[in-house]
Amino acid sequence: MSILTYIFGWPLIAALALVFVPRNFRVVMRAVAVAATFISAVLALKMFIQFSGAPAGASGFKFESQVVPWVKSLGIGYHVGVDGINVGLVLMGAIVAFAAACVSWEIKEREKEFYILLLVMAGGILGAFASLDLFLFYFFHELALVPTFIMIGVWGRGLQKNYATFQITLYLSLGALIALVGLIILYVQAGAGTFDIPELIRLSKEKPLLGGAQQQLIFPLLLFGFGILVSLWPFHSWAPLGYGSAPSPTAMLHAGVLKKFGLYGLIRIALPLLPEAARSWMPVVAWLCLGNLVYCGWVAMRQKDFNWLIGYSSVAHMGFVFLGIATLSLIGVTGAVVVMIAHGFLAALTFGLSGYIYQQTGTLEMGQLGGLFRRLPFIGAVLIMAAFAGCGLPGFANFAGEITVFFGAWQSYQVVTILACWGASVVGAIYMLRAIRAMLHGALPGKWATVADASNAWRKAPFVILLAGLLVFGFFPRLLTEKIVPSVNDRVLVTSSK
């Protein structure tokens, strides 16, 4: 068994174990959840460090594990492995899962069900990123997606909770089903009788598996199916409402990790297997991503609720990734992967912080907050750092990714890049800094005099770890890029360059 199996297996086993823990053993449940996610985070870190030295399999993946076919007649098998593209995503996912389990102390009712769902979600996401089988890849994603709906419905907040639950359920299920149809047509028309991704890529390197017309049919299904899951403009409207209503651990895991599934799917499946269609659709994607970057940034400026603001901001950040993918160049796609990882840390950090503030004050209306920096020196400082990372300040991983994306994009889409730069650095800075001013600075209303800062190391740990992720990859982006570049060369752009 490869280390990857343990990375996503521990949370799932822990979820199963929690089923048998009696309801009133609160401490045990918390400890099991935190321990399981901690183990998988440590294992993911170990894998990340050993990655460069590990031997690669025949298809170029490391830490591979392939088990006898699962459904033999259809060519579905259990196959996991990592290359430079998903090794960072698995690490980021495992760390965010640990942080989400840590901040779950804010959940006070029906804790048993919450921790079970949280662990299933964490295991599902990590499994999806580790899978090298199309069916398994989709299966794990759905496994992670369904708990999201239930968690928003049961533990969500705000008046629009029920509406948000139904909207996010129906919208995301539609996106997932469209992507599923695209994947099935891909499997059927490729005619290779296998769901194995490395095998499909290998076959298409030898000779294109799909003709132009077939690619033109499948690509839009994948693009818009995954696009709905990633909140590509104009399919983003579920995101701010959903995140605004979700409990913060759920928002952290979904916005930080699960949402990257669609982007990862595009990079892993759509670009290498459907190169012709990708080339013809990419200008469309480049212009749509402006909708994310500029339009959603603009909308974020007008938000009065901090959670809605960071919801829109996370939609806006997806624009960078789409722009990077749209370039179909080595630099652009590498940058896109770096942004995916950076934004995972960032989104988890901001939603975790907003959850903390909500826990203390009971509101996230920026008009009612103010002067909280005096009462919350630690949380306030981390929030300011997160805001800086969100504006794309050098030193944070976001900067490294975004600048790479812009370098890549300049060659193909100059107008789009100019507008995107403007949207990213000006609009992003305005709403982030305004939020900081409204919440942390100014006079402290009397009713918040009792607000307490994160007191002990346990409460601080999740934020410190996420911030550390942003800073480490911000100062040493090479840790990521030197792994990503060969993989992108070998397995993403190989057919499109010919």
């Binding site: 259809l74 496994l143 369904v146 359920t169 059927v188």
Partner: protein, 493 residues
């Protein structure tokens, strides 16, 4: 003739007669336990079936001339029906107190309906088709109106009787036309001559009328109109048996007629099947949205599922036109989906049976607070709804995956199948809305009028755990059932 071939049917009929006789001697207080005896008997028959009947691929044995065929497909369906009847019998024991009298007859009627389904799975002749169809339908007239003092139950029985009689009339007329033109009732003979009559309007009209009768059984549009009323009015175990047994029998007959008797005509009709499937899916799902009565909701949802199953039939019909890699994918997917549907629907109806039997209303709200009253029932109902919605890792997802795959293969040559899948996806998204609404009531309703715990007997717990395990197993480890289904459909053309 080898009489052993009909052993399933003999044994079930003998069991039914034994239950009727035992009813005379067993003291009234213990009569409801006859249901357990009957269920045990069926378990014995199931074990016997698995041990004694092993058939290789595409091997067919005939009884009564060639009227009755025992092959992989019929064995698959026979075991399927027996399994369904076992769970329905256990459910009926819980339900026994609501009947004024005659519980022994109720069990016996379930067994007689089961024998009709067993015959239906082996049909190879229009005469046997009609007899088995009537055996099922006539017993269901009684089963539906078994609550003799309740007006809704009687109303359901009358509605089922009138529309059932009408569709029987159509079927007989259709059979008469088909056999009048082709001078045969036998499916093997018919498949040889069907090609030369495939343009004959009278022959086609006759087949169309047979389709009307079968469409009534599976509750497909435009013959679905009876389903919601009958599902709502009938006693819950009857509804459950109607939803799974009667529907599956309809599909067993449909597969036999379309793919054994008249494959040449079926190919021409693939467009018709596509349209029927699409409208059935949309009708069932859209009409389910405003329903408040749980059994009625499941009635509409069962119409929608008939649509998904027809999607498999439509895919198999188009596959007749060209020799693809896997010509039977559609039919195999249908069998897989039905198997998952069995565990899912019976799980859901068992929960309803336990929760609703002491209540006047059957509104969705009566499930409020179920997770506090009985975590097992709440979990089963939730899993059943999630599986019906088609979400992994449960049975419904893999079934839909196989069905969609079978249809998308055909999309490469006929784009109508792409549109059919698009409609099916719209249906799935709509269905999530009403399935999740049920889950929401279970877990987070504001007002919970009744928090008394619900007692569950040991046999019913076993049945519920069986359904849950079935749902998970078919969703997580589909390999064995996929292979069985693939072997079973080898006999089809």
């Amino acid at each position: 003739m080898n009489l052993c071939l009909v052993n399933h049917e003999w044994l079930v009929i003998a069991l039914g007669l034994a239950v009727l006789l035992a009813d005379l001697w067993v003291p009234p207080g213990a009569r409801k336990n006859l249901g357990y005896a009957a269920a045990l008997g069926l378990i014995g028959i199931l074990v016997y079936s698995v041990l004694a009947f092993r058939l290789g691929e595409a091997q067919v044995q005939y009884a009564f001339g060639t009227m009755y065929a025992l092959d992989g497909l019929s064995l698959f369906f026979k075991r399927f029906f027996i399994l369904a009847a076992i769970i329905v019998l256990v459910m009926s024991v819980e339900f026994a107190e609501t009947f004024a009298a005659g519980i022994g007859e109720y069990y016996a009627l379930i067994l007689f309906a089961l024998s009709g389904m067993l015959f239906a799975s082996s049909v190879n002749n229009f005469a046997l088709l009609f007899v088995s169809l009537e055996l099922i339908t006539v017993t269901f007239y009684v089963l539906t109106s078994f609550h003799r003092s309740r007006l809704t139950s009687l109303e359901a029985g009358v509605k089922y009787l009138i529309i059932g009689a009408l569709s029987t009339g159509f079927t007989v007329f259709g059979i008469a036309l088909v056999s009048g033109i082709s001078r045969t009732l036998d499916f093997n003979e018919l498949s040889r001559v069907a090609g030369q009559y495939s343009q004959n309007p009278v022959f086609l009209f006759g087949l169309l009328l047979v389709m009307v009768g079968l469409g009534f059984k599976i509750a497909a549009f435009p013959f679905q109109i009876w389903a919601p009323d009958v599902y709502q009015g009938a006693p819950t175990p009857t509804t459950a048996f109607l939803a799974i047994g009667s529907k599956a029998a309809g599909f067993a007959l449909l597969l036999r007629v379309l793919f054994v008797a008249v494959p040449d005509v079926t190919l021409q009709w693939s467009k018709l099947l596509v349209i029927m499937s699409a409208i059935t899916i949309l009708y069932g799902n859209l009409c389910a949205i405003p329903q408040r009565n749980l059994k009625r909701l499941l009635g509409y949802s069962s119409i929608a599922h008939a649509g998904y199953l027809l999607l498999g039939v439509a895919a198999a019909a188009a596959a007749l036109g060209h020799s693809g890699v896997d010509p039977h994918a559609g039919a195999a997917a249908l069998l897989y989906y039905l198997t998952g549907y069995l565990f899912t629907v019976l799980g859901a109806f068992t929960v309803l049976c336990l929760v609703l039997q002491h209540l006047q209303g059957e509104d969705v709200e009566s499930l409020a607070g179920l997770n506090q009253r009985s975590p097992l029932l709440a979990a089963t109902m939730t899993l059943a709804m999630v599986s019906l919605g088609g979400i992994p890792p449960l049975a419904g997802f893999f079934g839909k995956f196989l069905l969609f795959k079978a249809a998308l293969v055909q999309g490469a040559t006929q784009s109508a199948y792409y549109w059919l899948v698009a409609i099916a996806i719209a249906g799935v998204v709509i269905s999530l809305y009403y399935y999740f609404a049920v889950i929401r009531v279970i877990f987070w309703s504001r007002e919970v009028p009744d928090l008394s715990p619900i007692k569950t007997s040991k046999p019913i717990q076993v049945a519920l755990y069986g359904c849950v395990v079935g749902m998970f197993l078919l969703g997580i480890y589909p390999n064995p059932v996929v292979n069985w289904a693939a072997e079973a459909v080898q006999v089809l053309r």
